[in-house]
């Protein structure tokens, strides 16, 4: 479905420096049973956020009033593991609009882009600077400018890459199906040509 348009975001950042955060941590399988896209934010990082008895874990960033904002910054190789799109929904549903990391798993990146969540890939060095800055000043506001493809922390800027097609989609709030439906005639021909298998 079409998503909110995204151009620039200025926000505080929630840091999660662990590396290799996989989609089972983002949203454990036992919470994948819903049949709609909404409501997954309640169980985002469930097993880090709540203890087995369901009590919030005090130190966890989402439970700690020090941290807030619409941007999540995470360690390298974020979103590995299962292809569950629920991971992107959960992050979006919780209220994040951007995830910054120095590396994203492929499927997660795609899923995020398909759901209006902007994955921003920065260098390891920049990510470290970001974490250090947040350590010193948790209320730091950073800027993510999609049009210029720039992320800025305390005057330090870094360019990030995004595919031009996905960038268009994010800025205009349209999605892949709109585009694919426009190819119906060509696809019909393919369907016939590949019918022997």
């Amino acid at each position: 479905m079409s998503k909110d348009k995204f151009t620039t975001l200025k926000s505080q950042v929630v840091p999660l420096p662990s590396e290799n955060i996989d989609t089972d941590q983002i949203i454990p399988a036992r919470f994948l049973k819903a049949t709609t896209r909404e409501g997954f934010g309640d169980n985002l990082f469930r097993d880090w956020r709540y203890d087995p008895a369901g009590k919030p874990v005090k130190d966890f960033v989402l439970n700690n009033a020090t941290w807030s904002g619409q941007i999540l910054a995470a360690g390298k190789n974020f979103g590995s593991g299962s292809s569950r799109e629920h991971a992107a929904w959960a992050i979006y549903d919780y209220g994040f609009r951007v995830v910054i990391s120095s590396f994203f798993a492929d499927i997660f990146k795609n899923n995020a882009l398909n759901n209006g969540l902007l994955p921003v890939v920065v260098s390891d060095r920049f990510l470290k600077t970001l974490f250090d800055t947040l350590q010193q000043k948790p209320t730091t506001v950073i800027t993510v400018d999609l049009e210029k493809q720039i992320v800025e922390v305390d005057g330090r800027k870094e360019n990030f890459e995004i595919n031009p097609y996905k960038k268009d989609c994010m800025i205009n709030g349209y999605d892949d199906i709109d585009y694919l439906l426009s190819l119906k005639k060509e696809v019909n021909e393919f369907d016939l040509a590949h019918s022997s298998i």
């Binding site: 479905m1 662990s18 590396e19 290799n20 996989d22 089972d24 941590q25 454990p28 399988a29 036992r30 994948l32 049973k33 819903a34 049949t35 709609t36 896209r37 097993d47 087995p52 360690g75 190789n77 590995s80 593991g81 299962s82 292809s83 569950r84 799109e85 629920h86 992107a88 590396f103 798993a105 492929d106 499927i107 795609n110 899923n111 398909n114 759901n115 595919n163 031009p164 097609y165 999605d175 892949d176 199906i177 585009y179 694919l180 439906l181 190819l183 119906k184 060509e186 696809v187 393919f190 369907d191 590949h194 022997s196 298998i197």
Partner: protein
């Protein structure tokens, strides 16, 4: 005209591109789409909201696998949310005219197991499913990859998916496998060498004489876990072994159509001189029975090795995650796992729940009894596997050993249905993921081959299968 030499991946990909435009991802035509209860409901919802139907229902096949119990499948599913998800799948398949292999159907099973066994998975195809282990199907020489639910909606509605062509990687394995070493060990070994993100951005082709000698089932195990090293998918060019497996399968081409298909399939190989973006080579003789000790599939070692110490890690930045992972597992750096007592053995999943896997387990446990400290779950990958196992009397062998052959489903592979490993318990598992909580909250997973898992079922401990009489 001299044609540029191409890899098999490029041949299949290029022949499925409906539209390629500058700056846009390719619109890729999809031959076969598998769906299941967990990642499809929101996609059907999307179709309803847009007021469109399924592009070609014959190209889509549904089954219920992730969220199903593996006992008493004839009874309604106990857990309300799971039940609703399976019921939603039923309604959606009915409303949109899609074939569903529901609980109790003779073709029901884990989606990546039923595709190949029904002959729905064929060489040269493009295949997708809202599940990362779709890479399994690549063993037949096709492009198969997992997609998210938005993409499931795309494929249902348009029979296409927008994708960027992945880079290509060749992984070549030559030589003879040692005693007790099976295909699961090959792939766990490769992942331990290149890490859980070592193939991110690539589509892998497995080649080499070791691969050529493997059965289709063993090849599926390898392609299945391509995703565990970050690859988009993995494939193996089809050969006689592939054709023999496919021949006579329910939905495979029959008679002269089959002969024609083979002529086409034989061309599905990488041309001499074709370029890969990356090439890795391994020697089969270096591979031993493997086990993972951490919470990502790259944290694996030979069963006789010891867990690395912090000082032995390549990157200092990895130390914190490594430590966290071992703490979760309740393990110490520098120690060996051999002889460690375990609590559960899970034999199942789309990685290792085909008939050959069950036969392998049976050879190991025949005439023996399971250790009293372990609970053993053996879950066939499909109804057909279950039937075949019963026909061969494997269920009796398991029973004598003290465990029961259950009904098909994903089971303890993902801690979503009733089969969960309790908090803090150790499970030797033939599945593909050892993430925190994957088999249930606080569960601790050691990934291993079916042979190693079977050995552990007997000894109750992490065991080097080479020391068991085979």
């Amino acid at each position: 005209m001299i044609l540029e030499p191409k890899t098999i991946f490029e041949k299949i990909w290029d022949s499925h591109v409906v539209k390629r435009a500058d700056g846009y991802p390719d619109a890729l035509f999809i031959d076969r789409h598998f769906i299941h209860e967990v990642t499809s409901p929101q996609a059907f919802d999307g179709l309803r909201k847009r007021g469109i139907g399924v592009f070609n229902t014959k190209r889509t096949t549904a089954t219920a696998d992730h969220n199903v119990p593996t006992k008493d499948q004839h009874l309604p599913i106990k857990e309300a949310l799971s039940r609703r998800q399976v019921e939603t799948l039923r309604t959606n398949c009915k409303d949109f005219g899609i074939e569903l292999y529901d609980l109790g159907h003779p073709f029901q099973g884990i989606v990546h197991i039923i595709g190949p066994e029904l002959g729905l998975t064929l060489p040269g195809m493009t295949i997708v499913c809202g599940d990362s282990h779709t890479s399994t199907h690549g063993a037949f020489g096709n492009i198969a990859f997992g997609i998210g639910t938005s993409e499931v909606e795309q494929v249902l509605g348009t029979q296409c998916v927008l994708q960027y062509k992945a880079k290509t990687m060749k992984i070549e394995i030559n030589g003879t496998l040692g005693k007790g070493v099976v295909s699961k060990d090959i792939i766990l070994y490769i992942i331990s060498k290149i890490s859980a993100s070592g193939a991110t951005g690539y589509f892998v082709e497995y080649t080499g004489d070791t691969i050529r000698k493997l059965s289709m089932e063993a090849r599926m195990t390898i392609c299945n876990m391509s995703i565990e090293m970050g690859a988009r998918g993995g494939l193996i060019a089809p050969d006689e072994t592939t054709f023999t497996y496919i021949k006579g399968r329910k939905f495979a081409p029959q008679g002269s159509a089959f002969d024609q298909a083979i002529e086409h399939w034989k061309k599905l190989r990488t041309d001499d001189g074709a370029r890969y973006d990356k090439v890795l080579t391994f020697d089969a003789a270096d591979i031993a029975p493997m086990i993972t000790y951490g919470t990502n599939p790259g944290m694996g070692m030979k069963v006789t090795d010891r867990i690395p110490t912090l000082a032995e890690l390549k990157e200092i930045s990895e130390q914190a995650s490594f430590k966290k992972s071992l703490d979760y597992m309740g393990l110490e750096p520098g120690t060996t796992l051999l002889g460690k007592a375990i609590d559960y053995v899970f034999i199942g999943s789309c990685t290792n729940a085909r008939i050959e896997d069950l036969r392998l387990v049976a050879t190991m446990v025949k005439g023996k009894k399971k250790a009293s400290n372990v609970e053993v779950w053996i879950i066939p990958g499909s109804k057909q596997v279950e039937e075949q196992a019963r026909k061969e009397g494997l269920d009796k062998i398991f029973e004598t050993a003290g465990f029961e052959l259950r009904s098909p489903g994903c089971s303890a592979c993902l801690g979503m249905n009733e089969d969960k490993v309790p908090p803090g318990k150790y499970c030797i598992s033939t599945s593909n993921r050892n993430f925190e909580g994957r088999q249930g909250p606080q569960s601790r997973t050691f990934l291993a081959s079916p042979l190693s898992a079977a050995a552990a079922a007997i000894t109750g401990r992490v065991t080097d299968v080479r020391e068991m009489v085979l």
